[in-house]
């Protein structure tokens, strides 16, 4: 799993590449928690453009980060969701909790 982060306007964007499953779950959980703590005032966007596979172990990491963020009044958005990933998100009813978009939101002009 490749994990790249960048700051996008007031948000923290984390782009993932690879399969989100039991093998990558631990590493991803750790990396996201470190970033969430390092940028304590930012909302998080997870970019899944280069993620072709997610199962319930991967989803658990995403939902766990949602819980951590919302406990601190911060939001989570998912972007670049591909159809097979969307199927899994829909089965789990994730859209009720997390905003899912196809593209990154426009950065506010300063």
């Amino acid at each position: 799993m490749t994990i790249v982060h960048l700051l996008h306007g007031p948000r923290l964007v984390v782009a993932l590449k690879g399969d989100l499953d039991l093998k990558s779950a631990g590493e991803l959980r750790q990396a996201l928690d470190q970033l969430i703590d390092r940028f304590p005032d930012r909302d998080l966007i997870i970019d899944l453009t280069e993620v072709e596979f997610v199962d319930s172990s991967g989803l658990g990491v995403i939902l766990g980060r949602y819980k951590r963020l919302s406990a601190r009044g911060r939001s989570l958005q998912l972007t670049g969701v591909r159809p097979p990933v969307r199927t899994v998100l829909d089965l789990a009813g994730i859209a009720k909790l997390v905003t899912i978009s196809d593209h990154l939101p426009k950065s506010p002009v300063r």
Partner: protein, 146 residues
């Protein structure tokens, strides 16, 4: 077209991807669509992950066996472990039920939603066997008609 495969590997997280790719390859041989194959991969991933996480509880020296057959338009996948087993199978299959507070309890839900039939056999102290079937050319899965 009839084909069979048996894959046996140690209970390592690295092997989950191996199992789902092998089954996906066989599913492709009997004309499942690409999106069907993606769904089958999720179901296989759930069953194999369960064998590793729950069946062997982190032990890395247990055997997991994935048997796969395709015949006509039907795919049958069984995932077996010789780990701790499940005391209450009905409870384990309930949505959102997990014995691990860190997990979501959606593995069986995904297997049931993405395959046409799921049969679980298990005995405490002996292990668990999950059999899943899906046809390539029948109508919608039950979740589509709910």
């Amino acid at each position: 077209m009839t084909n069979r495969m048996i894959l046996r590997f140690l209970s390592l997280a690295d092997n989950v991807g191996l199992a789902r790719v092998a089954v996906a390859q066989m599913a492709g041989q009997i004309g499942f669509s690409l999106s069907d194959v993606e769904e089958i991969k999720v179901a296989v991933s759930e069953a194999v992950s369960n064998a590793i996480i729950h069946g062997y509880q982190g032990r890395e020296d247990g055997w997991v066996e994935v048997a796969c057959s395709v015949a006509g338009d039907e795919l049958v996948v069984t995932v077996e472990d010789w780990g701790v087993g499940i005391a209450d199978i009905a409870k384990a299959r309930e949505p959102a039920y997990s014995t691990d507070p860190e997990r979501m309890g959606l593995g069986f839900v995904f297997m049931e939603s993405l395959m046409h039939a799921v049969v679980v056999e298990s005995a405490p102290g002996r292990g668990t066997r999950v059999e899943m079937r899906r046809r390539a050319r029948v109508g919608a899965l039950s979740r589509d008609v709910q």
